[in-house]
Symmetry: D2
Subunit: 442 residues, 4 copies
Amino acid sequence: MAYFDNISKIKFDGAKSKDPLAFKFYNPEEKINGKTMEETLKFGVAYWHTFMEDLSDPFGVGTAQRPWDKFSDPMDKAKARVDASFEFFDKLGIPYFCFHDFDIAPEGSNLKETLANQDVIVDMMEDYLKDSKVKLLWNTVNNFTNPMFVHGASTSNNADVFAYAAAKVKKGLEVGKRLGSESYVFWGGREGYESLLNTNMGLELDNLARFFHMANDYAKEIGFDAQFLIEPKPKEPTTHQYDFDVAHGFAFLQKYNLQDVFKFNIEANHATLAGHSFEHELHYARINGMLGSVDANQGHPQLGWDTDEFPSDLYATTLAMYEILKNGGLEKGGLNFDAKVRRTSFKPEDLFKAHIVGMDSFALGAKVAQRMIDDKALDSLVEKRYSSFSEGIGKDIVDGNTDFKKLQDYALTLDKVENESGNVEVIKSILNQYLVTTIADA
Amino acid sequence: MAYFDNISKIKFDGAKSKDPLAFKFYNPEEKINGKTMEETLKFGVAYWHTFMEDLSDPFGVGTAQRPWDKFSDPMDKAKARVDASFEFFDKLGIPYFCFHDFDIAPEGSNLKETLANQDVIVDMMEDYLKDSKVKLLWNTVNNFTNPMFVHGASTSNNADVFAYAAAKVKKGLEVGKRLGSESYVFWGGREGYESLLNTNMGLELDNLARFFHMANDYAKEIGFDAQFLIEPKPKEPTTHQYDFDVAHGFAFLQKYNLQDVFKFNIEANHATLAGHSFEHELHYARINGMLGSVDANQGHPQLGWDTDEFPSDLYATTLAMYEILKNGGLEKGGLNFDAKVRRTSFKPEDLFKAHIVGMDSFALGAKVAQRMIDDKALDSLVEKRYSSFSEGIGKDIVDGNTDFKKLQDYALTLDKVENESGNVEVIKSILNQYLVTTIADA
Amino acid sequence: MAYFDNISKIKFDGAKSKDPLAFKFYNPEEKINGKTMEETLKFGVAYWHTFMEDLSDPFGVGTAQRPWDKFSDPMDKAKARVDASFEFFDKLGIPYFCFHDFDIAPEGSNLKETLANQDVIVDMMEDYLKDSKVKLLWNTVNNFTNPMFVHGASTSNNADVFAYAAAKVKKGLEVGKRLGSESYVFWGGREGYESLLNTNMGLELDNLARFFHMANDYAKEIGFDAQFLIEPKPKEPTTHQYDFDVAHGFAFLQKYNLQDVFKFNIEANHATLAGHSFEHELHYARINGMLGSVDANQGHPQLGWDTDEFPSDLYATTLAMYEILKNGGLEKGGLNFDAKVRRTSFKPEDLFKAHIVGMDSFALGAKVAQRMIDDKALDSLVEKRYSSFSEGIGKDIVDGNTDFKKLQDYALTLDKVENESGNVEVIKSILNQYLVTTIADA
Amino acid sequence: MAYFDNISKIKFDGAKSKDPLAFKFYNPEEKINGKTMEETLKFGVAYWHTFMEDLSDPFGVGTAQRPWDKFSDPMDKAKARVDASFEFFDKLGIPYFCFHDFDIAPEGSNLKETLANQDVIVDMMEDYLKDSKVKLLWNTVNNFTNPMFVHGASTSNNADVFAYAAAKVKKGLEVGKRLGSESYVFWGGREGYESLLNTNMGLELDNLARFFHMANDYAKEIGFDAQFLIEPKPKEPTTHQYDFDVAHGFAFLQKYNLQDVFKFNIEANHATLAGHSFEHELHYARINGMLGSVDANQGHPQLGWDTDEFPSDLYATTLAMYEILKNGGLEKGGLNFDAKVRRTSFKPEDLFKAHIVGMDSFALGAKVAQRMIDDKALDSLVEKRYSSFSEGIGKDIVDGNTDFKKLQDYALTLDKVENESGNVEVIKSILNQYLVTTIADA
């Protein structure tokens, strides 16, 4: 345990702490609606951003200063990362993590070696997990980085690539089972197209469905009962990604009879790239029974790509937690920080500082959201607004006791139709009040 | 027939004509794949943009100079518009038109009077249609302009508004039947939300589905066999519109078991506002058997709202026609010019000139697309690209004769996976060649 | 005083007030850095949005319920609006207002009548202003609504329109002088192009500069010493507006030697439509000595047009006030609510409620910003970050005591260049802390 | 000469050629307005995209198959690239190229070694240039990739970095002089900010100006008379880049008295990311005398980042050439293909195919544009449109012979102001006609 020597265990220090290495709002033992923050929020570290990311961008090489970079052999470095990660989890006090296959173990010179490399690291992780409070939130495989996947993985035009992708997911399911993963994620980084003009979209979507059915069959066969999750993203790296947003995924799952097998892993930055608010995607998934897990990050409102920033916008975290708490939590999902430090935040301690910002922002969001729920601050407005559907013609509509003829007869009797103000400005004021007074009252 | 005195019947004058009141590429009798252009393209005039639009915008009053504005009584003006419209259809030589209820007849002081006003105009139109080649492509009702619909129509929080909307659609279906409409469109201009925070989206979507089922029941009851069409739009006027894009609509229709009742009416500008290309939306609808009709217009790449420009981009018209021709045409749908002249094109003759641009652009697009299809210019590339799924492991995948274990076994035998270039740049060059040589060869 | 009978004078009621007709954070007498909130914030009502706006949108007629709509004669209605406005200013306790010529008086059948109509209302306003604490923050003329301005006003292709626009601005300057306006605004709603292809941009920009010089000459001639302000906007209604953003305006002003005559009136929603943050535009103007006034509103992050919402985002108001306070205030400018209630907020009392949200949001932003300034919460970080320019080679650079040869000699001596983390995540956390604790400490 | 064995010299083969390795429209000897296409278009290869790009993206490693990758020693590889590049230039028949310092020679372990590495390659290039028709269009230095530049180069908060950047540009100017470069480009990839909150923008912009003045001084000192060019880009990798667009650059240059030293290098994809059309940026630069050179590429309308695609959109190339031809060409500038093959086009021959598409697209654009100029297809419309400024009150305005009082007197005499249609739809039709008939007539 020697990777973050200068960092002590992160502690809660209150809303006015000036210590960038202390929590201001996240107090793991503090209760929200009867459950501890730790249980409610189920924070997870994204292994790739925290232990693999070198902070390169398309215009510059990596800036990250990482203690495990002293190793040059890939397997040595992989092992160092495991050691460092569990030190990190412990010092940060975070209960979950998530990874892709190639985050934890380097790709070998062939598939067999690749799978063997993973076994070495999975053994090591299994040992760590035995003695740790930390759990695996979800795992997945990276079927997008290797040049082989240039035209897609399960939607490649090349059947060999489909087979290779399947081989890797098979292993991913086995690894998930061994490590007790609560969920399993599919993010189809290359499952889309560069140009519609050279693409057989019909075949590709059929193949994607075939792939998912086979994955489900194999998970059942080995008794891996993780929640399957699709992670929508509209574009990047592809021009159009098939899992564009939750609705695209939901249309696909219904068409191919997979809607009972999957839920969605919703990422804030992917939502905004698709033209939606984060809370919209969460809400839409929730009312369709499809809210599975969350990739907790944020985009930049002036930038058109996935910036994967650590979440800090308290409006976004409050409204996200509002949906999550209304969902009764996330069951087998959690709040995975699919977020990377800025390229200008390249010091090892920035990894801690950034996670603290994210955890504090969601913790505060959860407190604010729970108070709004407890007070029925919005619910009372909404209930009143729709009360006309609880009686009379409204009840007939909802109960299926009417038709166009009856409705026209009714409408012909109406002298005037009266509406009430939607009160949108007032609602924003209420949200602001909760935001700035919650801490004062705590 | 005195509304467009200075305009003669529009004629085809060839690719180099300098007459803005002549067709350059649209030659109605010219055949494309065995059918005349007129039959293939099924162009329609949007009654609202052409006969109702005053060219106001949020920053300025109307600029349009329209001959029927000499009438001040609303019913007189409505009748003048009918006369003018059939003169316009005839002089332009366009075979279809489309309207909302309030385009053709003014709203009365109550529902009864509103319905009566429509009857007067529908009688008049029925007479015109008897003696004309022109047909009604689709009709719809405007359930978004009246202040009553401020919170939605079939998704209003107010049950009276739902009833009122139903009453109007009932009439719309009856009018459609009387006038022999080929399709019937639902564009839910206010079916969405201003703010998620005061919205019961679950109830609203359920009600939307109830409304559609009742509409279908009534259409069946009266024997109106038009194709029902949903027209997706992502936003504007609402912040989020439930029929965001084709995929959102498809998810909704499947959930509520309406997928056999509806197809989609796809508008170019709505596609781009949703973050898709026009051809993407057409293609996605096509491969799901849901391509119904097209609102032929275009947006502006630098503007973030619905500009409803007359289509002129030959790339867009070519790729749209490529999808439509591959679909075997549009059956009960057509190419409705949901497009308005610019506010700076305010003269009556601009209405003709703009339609000519749109018709020419789609006519040329159709010629180019048909040549590419005939030559298999793209198809041969695509077929070759996916050939691995016609044999061996690829065929097993497609035929359902494999699973993750067999696929892993296969993948372990692969020495190297080889891919071919996707040739995207070359494909663009081919498209350009077809674009600039088609006329030369004609 | 009979227009808002059911509204009493709005009072400060504290952060937890549940009264939508009370201030939660704006306490006019409370001091921020030695000046009252009222003096610091200089809030203004936008006459057009509050007294003229009918809440129509491109897809629906107006929903606004306004007490002065009982009058039908335009001049009667205009007078009623003046009465209502001063009742509104008084009940809201807001110290400023702003208007366009056509907001206060209807256009006549010719220019002479138009100017005469204005005189009637200006007389009336002059009387009101004598006995009121309220002042005119700025006036302007509307040279964009009338169809005459379809191709622009001072950038029209039609010289008569240029003359007409000049005639109106001449009157506007006279009206501003009579009513003691602190500033005078130019927003060129049609000063741009629909299509580059029919536009002589060079001539149009030269003419715009000629127009501004003549306006300045005339203001000097009549002794009107208001601050001239350009209000940038990138687009809408035009495709490209010449005053795209502050930088475009600054380039223009320098080229035509007008940089000492004008400052900028910066609107939040215009900033974001131009691809900038609100604070960016304020900051850029500030460091160039060009920050004049602010149109306080906000856009919607998912919408691509000018939504002119009442400001409620506390991040935006805090960072805006941070710039304004660092600027030493706005001198002859202020915070004008160029904002309209949502179309769904159509009741008269919504006008009060929405202004309250805006005033509260900026009041709270000001308090948070002042605390950050007092504590040097960000300044200390920034000063440290740039300290290398206070000594050694950095000082030589700033003092102009070096050149490329010396710098290369110096660089050749450097073993390694060390950088520090930019601490972006930590800075966001600090901002959050100030946001949620300021009220608790008050 | 053994890097592209399977490629022969690319030849012109006519508009219908099916050979992806032949020109369809670019015929170097063909004359446009009296000059050969080769002289008019001045095409250049971007060394970085063609010889350095590995086709990695943020989600995947490189896919590029490049013959020089057989070398592992960086200097050996650099030399191989020089050999390959001149083979490439020759086979493609392209007259210019452009590079950054680190494209041609690897960075050494210290500055001295870095500069020495460059000398080796520059010697080699000098030899090649002696015997070749190929010339250096422009060079520049890469002051953005190295982690040192994480906070900027000439706008870094670290004075050592400023010095280092200066040292590199000094060398760049010397290299440019030795190789006879026609222009010298400054693209400030990191000259902007990640967050406004930790940035001293005032100091950074002052330093940027100091840097430019020193560069200019040194270029004069060594007698390097290249045209200095600023390449605007709005964002990416930074959140806000100081040279956001041409107008931002123009405002900056005027403020710091650099407007006579610089012109602009305008990139299509940067223009669209800034919210402008490509032709807008060219036009704006042209009318201000600041159009220097062009980075010929294109973006993707659905993607929010710099895709740097090879230009293929004939509307864009036509309208770009329209501006360039009206500018009388680009003097010391040219059309540099700042474009990369798609990640899916990874074969060596794709480099040729993609350049061919770009050259053909601009060649055709030039032919179409020249015909429109020759025919005054648009100019005649524009001249007529603005004719009111050639006489009467319009002439007075342009000549400075009027003022607001005279203009108001004049306006008061106007009965009605009449405008003409802007004919935007017709203009688009004319453009389409030229596009699709130019080849037929050739």
